[in-house]
Symmetry: D3
Subunit: 236 residues, 6 copies
C-alpha cells in the first residue's frame, strides 16, 4: 500500500500550465502532484563560444530550488556562492535529455536556455523539470518556426521516477516514497519508444535485471500519460 493510496502504476495528478510567465519565449508551470516546477525557455540569438561559427544551435538547462521549496529551508545557493553537486548533476541531465530530441543544426546559431526552478518539492523534481522543459522548449520553438527550414524538435521527451517501495515496484515516487525507497531510478524516454537516459541507484538495497525491467515497464506507462498531457498543453 502506497502512503498516498495510489495504485503501484498510478501517476500523481499531472498539470502543465503553459505561458505561466510573460517575458519568456516559452514557459510552463508543471505539477506532478504537489511538486511544482516553473520552467522558462529563453531564446538567444547566439551560441556559446565552443559552437561559434559551426552553424548549429544549443539547448542547455539550469536548475534551482527556492530555499523553502522543501520541508526545511535550505541555504540559498546564490548566497552560499556555489551550486551544489546535486544541482549541477540535475541540470546536466535536463540539458542532455532535451538535446536528445533536438536537431541542433536545424535550430541555427541560436541557444535556448531552459531555467527550471522548483517552487515546491515533493519528490521527482528532476523528472517534472524535464517533462515541463519539453513544453517550454516546444512553445519557444513554435515562436520561431517561421525562421527555420524544418522543425528541430524530432519528438517528445518525458521523464519519470520509479522505485521499490516495500518491495513493490511503484511509479512516480513522492517524497515519502523516495525517502524510503530501497532502490529507485529516473527514466527519460521519447514518444517514439526510445530510452534517452536511465539512472538507477541502490543506496542500501540493490536490484537485478528483472527489477530493472519492471521499473522500466512502469516508466513507459508513466511517460505515456505525460506525453499526452504535454500535447494537450501545447495544443497539439
Amino acid at each position: 500500500m502506497r502512503p498516498s493510496g495510489r495504485a503501484p502504476d498510478q501517476m500523481r495528478t499531472l498539470s502543465f500550465e503553459p505561458g505561466f510567465t510573460k517575458h519568456a519565449e516559452g514557459s510552463c508551470l508543471v505539477s506532478f502532484g504537489e511538486t511544482r516546477v516553473l520552467v522558462t525557455a529563453s531564446l538567444e540569438e547566439k551560441v556559446p563560444p565552443f559552437l561559434r561559427g559551426k552553424g548549429q544551435g544549443w539547448v542547455t538547462a539550469e536548475y534551482g530550488m527556492l530555499p523553502r521549496a522543501t520541508h526545511t529551508r535550505g541555504a540559498r545557493e546564490a548566497a552560499k556562492g556555489k551550486q551544489s553537486g546535486r544541482t549541477q548533476e540535475i541540470q546536466r541531465l535536463i540539458g542532455r535529455s532535451l538535446r536528445a530530441v533536438t536537431d541542433l543544426s536545424l535550430l541555427g546559431e541560436r541557444q535556448i536556455v531552459l531555467d527550471c526552478d522548483v517552487i515546491q518539492a515533493d519528490g521527482g523534481t528532476r523528472t517534472a523539470a524535464i517533462s515541463g522543459a519539453w513544453v517550454a522548449l516546444r512553445l519557444a520553438v513554435d515562436g520561431i518556426m517561421g525562421k527555420l527550414s524544418a522543425d528541430p524538435i524530432r519528438t517528445q521527451v518525458a521523464a519519470v521516477s520509479c522505485g521499490f517501495h516495500n518491495d513493490t515496484a511503484v511509479l512516480d515516487l513522492d517524497y515519502i516514497e523516495d525517502s524510503n525507497a530501497g532502490s529507485d531510478g529516473n527514466f527519460v524516454l521519447t514518444a517514439d519508444g526510445a530510452i534517452v537516459e536511465a539512472q538507477l541507484t541502490a543506496e542500501g538495497a540493490t536490484f537485478d535485471e528483472e527489477g530493472l525491467l519492471r521499473l522500466l515497464r512502469l516508466a513507459r506507462i508513466g511517460c505515456g500519460e505525460i506525453f499526452e498531457a504535454q500535447r494537450r498543453a501545447c495544443g497539439r
Copy 2:
C-alpha cells in the same frame, strides 16, 4: 498620461495569495500588476550567532530573481557564484522594514527568514516583496501565537514606489515608467502613519522638498490600499 492609462495616484491591481506553498510556516504570492513575487516565511527555533543567549529573536530576508523574470534573461546568481550589489541592497532593505514593526524580544529565541523570489518583474519588485513579506510573516507568527506571551507584530508595514514621469508625480511605477523616471523613490510606511524608510534617487534629474512631499503623499495613498489588501489576505 501614464503608459498604462492609470491615473497618477492609481495603484496597479493588487493581489495577495496567502498559503501559496505548503511547506513554509507562512507564504504569499503577491502581485502588483504584472510584478509577481513569491514570499515564504521560514520559522527556525534558533537565532544567528550574534544573538545567541540574548533572549530575543530575529527577522531577516533574502531576495532573488528567477533568471527569466525579466525581459531578457539575467545570469543566475547561484551560477555566477555571488549575489549582486542590487540583490544585497534589496534584501537588507526588506529585513530592516519588517524588523521595524516587530518586537524581537516578544518573538523569543526564534528566527524568521523571509525569502522573496521574483517570479515575474515589471517594476516595483522590492516594494511588492516588502508588502508580501508582511503577510507571510503575519501567517507564520499566527501559527506560534500559542507559544508567545503577546503578539510581536506591532503593526502593518507596506512599501510602494513613486516618481516623476514626464514631470508628473505618479504612484506605483511599472517597468516602463521606472526606466524613464527622472527621479523616484521607495517608501516604507506603517499602518499607524510612520515612515520606516524613504529612499529617493535622482539619476539625471533632481528634486526638492516639494517634490519629496508630493511623492510621500502619493505613497500614503498607495500604502493605504496595500494595508487593506494585506488585512483581507490574512483574514483580519
Copy 3:
C-alpha cells in the same frame, strides 16, 4: 546635549587635503572630524563594455575599509573573498551621486574610477567619501580640460548625515550618535540646491514628514559648509 558637545546644527571639523597621493590623476584625504577617507580618482582612456562605442564616458566608485579603521578589527574583504552587502550598497551610492553632477557625454570615452578607502571610521564614512570624491573627480577632470570641449562637471555634490539623537535633530552624526540614533538619514545635495539622494531609515523609532523636513534643513546647512571647503581645496 550631543556627546561631542557640538550644537545640533554644527558640523565636525572638515578638512580636504588634495593631492594626498602622487600617482592618481586626482586624490584627496577628506576628514569629517575623526573620520578619514582617502579618495583617488583614476582616469582610464576606455569605458566599460556596456558603453563601448556610444561616445560617452563613465564615472564609478569602489569603497573599502581598512580592517582596523574601526573600534574592533573587521575581517579583510579581500581575504574573505567577497565584498559585503554594505560595501556594495555604499559604492553604488557614491557612483550614482557623482554621476548625477557629471555630463557623461562631455567626458568622452573615458572612465574615472573613484576609490574611497576608509583609513579611520567614526561615523559618516559614506558622506565623507562622496564629498571627498567630488574633489578628487574635480582635480582629475581639471587635468584633462585641454582635451574636452566643455567642463563635464555641472556643479558640486556633497553629502551629510542627519538624525534624531535623544529626540533632537542633529547634523553630521559621529559614531556614538549614529549607534544610538532612533532614525537617521543620508542626504546628497548639489550646490545649486537640488536633492540627488535621500535615504532615511528608522530601525526602532520611526519618523514623519515634519521630521524628514527638519533633517533635510540641517543637511542643507551642512552641505553648504562642505561646498565651501571643497572649493577652497580645489582652489576655486
Copy 4:
C-alpha cells in the same frame, strides 16, 4: 572491429598496484589499459557533522584529474576556484557505490575518504576509480580490523562501462570508443550479483530494453574479471 583490436567482450589489461603511496591507510594505483587512477583511503577518527553521535561511520570520495591527464591540458580546478559539475557528479557516484557495500554502523564513528586522482585518462576513469577505491578501502579497513567487532565490508564492488560502438555492444570503452559511442552506460555491480548503479545515456542515438540488457550482460563479464583482480591485489 574495435579500434584497439579487442573482442567486444574483452576488457583492457587490468592492474591494481596496492600500497602505491606510503602515508595513506590504504592506496592503490589502478589501471584499465592506459587509464591510470591513484586512489588513497584516508582513515579519520571522526565523522562529518550530520553523523556526530549517531554511532556510525561514513565513507565518501573525492575525484580529481591532473591538468594534463588528458590529450589537451585542462584548467586546474584549484586554480579556477571550483570543481566542475562533472567532477562532482563522479565523486558522488564513487561515494554511493562504496557505501552500498559497507555496513556503516560496523565501522564505528570513523570516516574513510577515498581520493581518486586521475594520472592519465583514456576513457573509463570513473569505473577505474570505483574499482580501485574498493581495494584502497579494503586495505584501510584491514588495518583496523582489530578495533572492529565484524568486517564492515559486505562484499566487493566494481564498475565498468559498456556501450554501442558501430552498433556493436562492447565492453570497457577506451577514449576513442567513448567519444564515438552512440549510447553507453556505467554499471556498478557487487560480487554477489546485485546492481548498485546503472547509468545509461544516449546523446545522439537512443536504446531500448534489449540494448540495455546486452550492455548489462557485458558488464557482468567485465566486473567478474575486476573482482578477481581486486582479490589478488588484496591477497584474498
Copy 5:
C-alpha cells in the same frame, strides 16, 4: 649613477609616524621615500584554532595595496574575490619576520594581527611593511606590558631590499631601480646581527657568492639606519 642621485649605500628618507590611527592598539605610517605603508597592530584576546589551549600567543600579518597606490590602477582584491599570490607571499613573509623576534609563550593566549596597507608604492613595500610592523607591534605590546611577566619582543627586526643596478650593488631600491635590477633581494635582519630571511632572485641576470655577500653588507648598513629610526619612533 642611480636615477635618484643617491649613493649606492644610501637609504631613501625614512619616516615612522607612530599612532597614525586612533583605534588600533599600535599603529605606524612608515615611509621609505615615496613608499608609504600604514601598519596597524590589532590585539585580540584569543588565538587561532590550531593554538587553542597551548598557552601561547600568535603574531600574524595581512597585506594589501590600495587600488591606486601604483602608477596604474590595479583591480581591488576584495572585488576580484581573492588575494593574489604576490599578496599572500608578502603577508606570509611579514608574519614570519615578526614571529622571529617574538617569544610567543610570553605573549600568553593573545593574537596580534599586523595589517599592512600600502597607501603609495614606489618600490620596497614589503620591506617598509616589515620595518613599520615592528613599530606597531612594539606599541601594542607596550600597552599590555602590565599583564605580561616579561617582554615578549626579544629584539628589533627590519628589512631592506638591495640589488644590482647597472652592475653596481645598491641599497633600498626604488621602483625604477627595482624594475631594471638584474638581480635583487630582500633581507630581514635583527638588531643583534642575525639574518631572519634572505630572498634573492635573479630574473634575467644571475649572481654568485660574492654578489650575495655584497648585497648582504649593504643590507646591514640599511637596517642599521632603520633600527635607529624605529627606536626614535617608539621613544626608546
Copy 6:
C-alpha cells in the same frame, strides 16, 4: 647524526623517470628519496594576453599536492575553492626558476605550462619539482626543435634544500629534518654555476654570513648530482 643515517653532504636517492605519462609533450616522475612529484610540460601554440604579438614565448608553472600526499590528509584545494598562499608561492618560484634558463624570444609565440603534482611528500617537494620540471621542459622543447632557429634552453637548472639540523649544515632535508631545522633554505642553481634564487628562512633560530655560505656550498654539491641525473634522464 641525521635521522636517515645520511652523511651531512649526502643527497637522497635521486630518480628521474622521463615519459611517465603519454599525453604531455614532456613529462617526468622525479623522486628525491620518498618525495615523488609528477611533472608534465604542456606545449600550447599561444601565449597569455599580456604577451600577445610581442614575438616571444612564456614558461609558467602550477603546483598541487594530492590530498593524501602527506602524513595526514589535507583538504583538496579544488574543493576549498582556492589555492593556498604556500601553493602560489611555490608555483611562482618554479616558474621564475625555469624562465631564468630559457630564452623566451627563441621559443616563439608558444607557452609551456609545467604542472607539478606531488604524489608523495617527504620534504623538498619544491626543489624536486624544479629539478624535474627542467627535464619535462627539455623533453617538450626537444620535440619542437625542428620549428626553432636555436635551442631556447640556455643551461640546466636544479634546486635543493639545505639547513641546519642539530647545528650541522645538512643537504637535501627530508620531512623529519625539515620539521626540526633551526633555519634552512632553498637554492636554485644553474649548471654553469650561477645562483638563480636563494631563499633562506629562520623561524626560531637565525643565521649569519658564514652559515649562509656553508649552506650554499652544500647546495652546489647537491645540484651537481642533480644535473648529472637530469642529463642521464634526457639522454644527453
